[in-house]
């Protein structure tokens, strides 16, 4: 049960129930769709990028608590960040949620640290990573749907 509490901690449950930046932003100039065929998670991500900076970001869609909370937290983290910073964060986040030997110190991860528990659930890593993969597709302006498979 402890690992479950770690995975489904209150902050994650709160983001699941009341996700931040949920909806469509009209001025989006980058969009991408992310899909996880394993569980049917589907997110549409909207970004407004100007001069290499993510001015605004939002999402819509349905998914499990992990994917929804991950997307929600990601949007709060990336608003105002440069695309280069977003890329850096993504790399760190991937290390955090997998058992990478060079795993980053969760203390350095800010709000993303709450996803450290995911590494104990290898089948759920894709759920946590979906938002970030989709974000990259959006930055590259790849219009094809991103799949975790």
């Amino acid at each position: 049960m402890d690992e479950l509490r770690e995975l489904y901690q209150q902050v994650i449950l709160d983001h699941n129930k009341n996700p931040k930046n949920f909806g469509k932003i009209e001025r989006a100039n980058r969009t991408a769709e992310g899909y996880n065929p394993l569980c049917g998670d589907r997110i549409d991500l909207y970004l407004q990028v100007e001069d290499g900076v993510i001015k605004d970001i939002s999402f819509q869609g349905a998914g499990c608590a992990i994917s929804k909370a991950s997307t929600s937290v990601m949007t709060t983290m990336l608003k105002g960040k440069s695309t280069a910073e977003a890329e850096q964060l993504f790399k760190k986040f991937q290390k955090l949620i997998t058992n990478d030997p060079e795993a980053v110190d969760p203390n350095e991860m800010g709000k993303l640290a709450i996803f450290a528990g995911v590494r104990e659930f290898p089948l759920r890593v894709k759920c946590a990573g979906l938002a970030w993969h989709t974000m990259f597709a959006a930055l590259k302006n790849e219009h094809q749907a991103v799949s975790t498979e």
Binding site: E3, L4, Y8, L38, C39, G40, D41, R42, C64
Partner: protein
């Protein structure tokens, strides 16, 4: 096979005996069920995905490789004869289990999926032309959708879909309306893997046959829950998978009426499906070997034969009666959970319960139950159109076999209360 004489349970009260069905005794036959998962007893409620295997099946595989392994049909030596006899013996068992007319009608394939692909590729390509129609239902598994879609695309034919009602039952009147002169085949699931619905196959076959339309039945989920008699059903094709009827993976059966099979072109070319080969001309083998190119899954087929023996030893009727009681019990128990909604409430139903819990995604349900040792399936169950029909992205599914108990249904309910507590 199921004798109580040597049972270690003989001096204990039969805790779960229903109408002489001693489930605790039967569980002894399945070694995997003794396993603990994360320190908790395994509660396996995913038999619709794949069933567990009794010791006799596991031993049959091991015995084949230890004492009989040789290629079949060709060798003139002792081992090859043993292997051939065991392989062909299993074909006879399948023929008897589903009451086919002849072993010529029993083709071994890799699974129900390959059986459907074989029919689509061989029968379909020859008989389905531009403007023709194939009828399937809204509750088909992807394996009974995609091969027909591929065929329709190739031939320029159209796929028509029989709708289902809110209970997850086929609307038979709509089926009748869909049939017309262009209809070349009906492909329909016997028992739905995601809803549990048991379709009135005999009735559907009669309706289709009145219009001279042949019917393929996807029986993958039907055989594990009750007796199948292809003569009574009257269907033209019937497919099922070994691994869902307590046999090994990688083996399935295509039953086809001999007259149809006789006219069908081979599905794959290779060894064993030929009588003679020259560069000018190849003479194909007799039925059913014409459809079994290459060395088959010999051990798997022998294992399937053992599995069918095992199920027959318990008795299809007893299994059906016990599972029906389990279904009723589990349905009632799950219905006590307020935010839970069962998807698929057909009157005729197998022991498969799909459900959603308001505000909690099935994937989270599955992860949390797993920590209690409970294995359920979560997702779209390879039936995305069914999910769309019921407007849910996914469901959790508990599917029961005759080795499951009422106590396990109670565990599930307890586990779901944990889920709800944890997620709120």
């Amino acid at each position: 096979m199921i004798t109580l004489v040597d049972s270690p349970m003989i001096n204990q009260p039969p805790t779960q005996s229903v109408n002489g069905f001693d489930v605790e005794r039967i569980r002894e036959d399945f070694p995997i069920l003794r396993q603990k998962v994360r320190g908790k007893p395994l509660v396996f409620l995913d038999s619709a995905a794949t069933s567990q295997k009794p010791q006799v099946v596991i031993e049959a595989l091991s015995h084949y490789y230890q004492a009989e392994n040789a290629n079949i049909h060709r060798g003139v030596y002792y081992l090859s004869e043993l292997a051939t006899n065991a392989y062909e013996g299993a074909r006879l068992k399948v023929k008897e289990a589903i009451n086919a007319n002849s072993i010529k009608e029993i083709v071994f394939v890799r699974g129900a999926t390959e059986g459907i692909n074989l029919v689509a590729s061989s029968y379909g390509r020859k008989n389905v032309k531009e403007g023709d129609e194939i009828v399937i239902s809204a509750m088909e598994h992807h394996s009974n959708i995609v091969p027909w879609q591929m065929l329709c695309e190739e031939a320029g034919a159209k796929l028509r879909v029989i709708p289902i009602n809110d209970e997850g039952e086929l609307i038979v009147d709509e089926f009748e309306k869909l049939l017309n002169k262009k209809t070349k085949l009906v492909a329909i699931v016997h028992t739905s893997n995601s809803l549990g619905t048991i379709n009135p196959i005999k009735r559907l076959v009669d309706i289709a046959h009145d219009r001279n339309v042949p019917v393929l039945v996807d029986g993958a989920q039907a055989l594990p829950h009750g007796k199948i008699d292809v003569k009574k059903l009257g269907c033209d094709f019937f497919v099922f998978s070994s691994h869902k009827v307590f046999g090994p993976t990688g083996v399935g059966v295509l039953y086809a009426k001999e007259a149809l099979l006789e006219k069908m072109a081979p599905y794959q070319g290779g060894g064993d499906m030929i009588k003679s080969v020259t560069f000018e001309k190849t003479l194909y083998n007799d039925l059913p070997y014409r459809f079994e190119a290459g060395t088959p899954n010999i051990a798997g087929v022998i294992g399937l034969g053992k599995a069918l023996d095992y199920v027959a030893g318990i008795g299809y009727e007893k299994i059906a009666a016990y599972e029906h009681e389990l279904l009723n019990y589990a349905t009632a128990a799950l219905s006590t959970i307020k935010p839970l909604r069962i998807i698929g409430t057909a009157k005729e139903k197998a022991a498969v319960i799909s459900f959603v819990i308001e505000g909690i995604h099935p994937h989270d349900v599955g992860t949390i139950l797993d920590r209690d040792g409970i294995a359920v399936r979560t997702g779209h169950h390879c039936t995305q159109p069914v999910m769309e029909r019921f407007n849910v992205p996914a469901t959790s599914r508990a599917s029961f076999a005759f080795y499951n108990t009422k106590a396990e249904a109670d565990f599930l309910v307890k586990g779901l209360h944990n889920v709800i507590n944890l997620m709120n």
